[in-house]
């Protein structure tokens, strides 16, 4: 019973974390048809900048609570700067290329950013634990949980609901959906598709950096964190269906619970479960649980 509660809560927390990282990836794919490997770099950049800012901030004697705001600021700054540079400086010249080629282009960006991070922040690790310790622990049915981790659920809800509302209840969001369904038709009715792409990529990048920023207090931020995360994020969005927001949520929940169950019941199977589910979903529903099938070209 206790382990059931633990799996449930750990699963929800882990799913929330995955969702925040995956939603940016799926958004970018949905609008631009780019499977963005560089999303892992944005995650790592967000984590590094947050960790660095928090480290500097806690040297001073300001109110500690503002450190959460710092993470947010870092994520937005990183997302805007790097998202803009990558999209305007590189990707926009390649929109006529094949999807697979775009994966390779973003893989190249990923490789470059890996070294940019090493040159900027060195190879030692950062541990910005303060924001996590600040909120203390809580006991649920006798099991201790860190409040910060539970707050990730809140973050995921806020992010998910804002993206959903932004897409479905605002004018720019509806224009975006038009672009998702038919890029050329959207162009003919006067939507500036180029600008929609830039904005989408920047928002996706901010979301990736946000995921990294709020993960920083949980981990030791060191080179290579983006490498593990990107395949995990792929698994989440592929399970849900590339380009689907609901899919990302469902994918995150499946992977989250699967992993939590594995950690508590059969720790060796942790990685296996994640990619086992991904393989299974791809085999049974190639376009994911919520994905749209594409017609073959003749």
């Amino acid at each position: 019973m206790l382990s059931f509660v633990a799996i449930l809560i750990d699963g929800v927390v882990y799913a929330s974390w995955l969702f925040v990282i995956g939603i940016g990836l799926t958004l970018i794919y949905g609008v631009m048809n780019i499977l963005n490997v560089a999303h892992g770099s944005l995650y790592a950049l967000g984590a590094y900048s947050a960790a660095w800012l928090i480290g500097q901030y806690f040297l001073l004697d300001y109110p500690a609570a503002a450190s959460y705001l710092l993470i947010l600021i870092a994520a937005v700054a990183i997302g805007v700067i790097f998202g803009f540079i990558i999209e305007r400086g590189l990707l926009r010249f390649m929109y006529d290329r094949d999807e697979v080629v775009m994966v390779l282009v973003t893989y190249a960006v990923f490789l470059i950013l890996e070294d940019v991070m090493k040159l900027t922040w060195g190879v030692e690790s950062y541990m910005p634990y303060q924001p996590r310790y600040l909120l203390g622990n809580i006991s649920i049915m006798g099991l201790p949980f860190v409040v910060y981790d539970l707050c990730l659920v809140l973050l995921a809800l806020v992010v998910g609901i804002s993206v959903w509302l932004g897409l479905n209840r605002t004018r720019p969001g509806k224009l975006l959906i038009a672009v998702i369904y038919d890029r050329e038709l959207a162009l003919t009715i006067g939507i500036n598709v180029g600008r929609v792409f830039t904005i989408t990529f920047v928002i996706g990048s901010i979301l990736g950096a946000l995921g990294g920023g709020f993960t920083a207090p949980l981990i030791s931020v060191s080179p290579g964190i983006g490498i593990e995360i990107i395949v995990l994020a792929f698994a989440v969005v592929v399970i849900g269906g590339l380009g689907s927001i609901e899919g990302a949520a469902v994918g995150a929940l499946i992977v989250g619970f699967g992993r939590a169950a594995a950690v508590h019941l059969l720790p060796q199977a942790e990685l296996f479960v994640v990619f086992g589910v991904m393989t299974l979903v791809l085999l049974i529903r190639p376009h994911g649980l919520f994905g749209r099938a594409v017609l073959r070209k003749i």
Partner: protein, 319 residues
């Protein structure tokens, strides 16, 4: 001389040259050549499926299966003969490639890439949690023997025999792939890349063609993995099956281009050379260099390094 025959002649001369210069080359050069050839085999495999327009982000799976098949045979079965060990690795990768080809042949584009990635990560998940296999640290492989002959300890790990075996394996498989690609079955690959519905209407089986190509690529990747493990004498999950390794192979494949069976080995040798120097003189910008090269190749040299050689050819024919 026809173009095809010229490739065969060049490959034969290259084999003779490579084997002949071995005794005078310094150890590091021998090692680097052997390594480029072994890794080039995997890239050759990728080239076969890339001709059909398919890119796999998970060929580390077959590379790793070949490597682990060889290593397991040496350590747990006590087999010492290098040829048998390589054969074991190839059998492992071929078997898995055969089974998975039934599922994978239905997929195209990024879904093909992603399904391969998922399969390779499954194997990675198994390997890092196998305590018997040393989990993330992997395990060492003893020096193999060659038809009963055991290299003395005075010889380096990369003995003339291992080097010669790798050269020979590469030569034979490159010629075989060359013949295959210039057969009807081989040309169907390009037709599939252009338009597979038409291939279906013409009466060829797209599914079967892709399966065959996929299995060939699995065989070659397994052979490459087996040779690499014998060369290094150690096998770990992260250096064989992890997605970064698969990405590296795709990188070299893009760099080389799919123009000729020799291209993967030229690309692989360039890669190995640059890596050696970059890691020595500028390790902090090594990946940046890779990324920038990849971007430049995609933008300005879509057919890879081989197109440089081809354009030189064309100029010569015109004059």
């Amino acid at each position: 001389m026809t173009h095809q025959n010229r490739t065969v002649w060049c490959l034969t001369i290259a084999l003779i040259l490579l084997v002949a210069v071995q005794p005078v080359l310094p150890g590091w050069a021998v090692n680097m050549i052997a390594m480029s050839l072994s890794n080039g085999l995997v890239v050759l495999g990728l080239m076969v499926i890339m001709r059909a327009g398919l890119v796999s982000f998970g060929h580390g799976l077959y590379f790793g299966l070949g490597g682990y098949g060889t290593a397991l045979g040496a350590v747990f079965l006590g087999i010492t003969d290098a040829f048998v060990l390589v054969l074991l690795g190839i059998i492992a990768s071929t078997f898995v490639g055969f089974v998975l080809s039934f599922m994978i042949a239905r997929y195209r584009g990024i879904f093909f890439a992603l399904l391969n990635l998922a399969f390779s990560m499954l194997l990675f998940g198994i390997l890092v949690n196998s305590i018997v296999l040393g989990s993330t640290d992997g395990f060492s492989v003893p020096v193999p023997s060659y038809f009963g002959y055991v290299p003395s300890s005075a010889e380096t790990r990369v003995s003339f025999l291992l080097y010669g075996m790798i050269c020979l394996l590469v030569y034979v498989s490159t010629l075989a792939v060359h013949r295959y690609l210039n057969s009807t079955m081989g040309y169907i690959g390009e037709a599939i890349r252009e338009n597979e519905v038409r291939v279906d209407y013409l009466g060829a089986s797209v599914k079967q063609a892709i399966m065959v190509k996929y299995i060939i690529s699995a065989i070659l990747a397994g052979m490459g993995g087996a040779c690499t493990v014998l060369l290094i004498g150690h096998v770990t999950p992260e250096d064989t099956v992890y997605w970064t390794r698969s990405g590296e192979f795709v990188f070299v494949a893009i760099l080389s281009g799919t123009g000729n069976v020799a291209a993967p080995f030229i690309g692989s040798a360039m890669f190995e050379l640059v890596r050696t120097y970059a890691l020595q003189y500028a390790p902090e910008v090594w990946q940046m260099l890779l990324g920038a090269t990849l971007l430049l190749v995609i933008m300005f040299l879509p057919s890879g390094l081989w197109s440089l050689i081809r354009s030189h050819d064309r100029k010569r024919e015109q004059t």
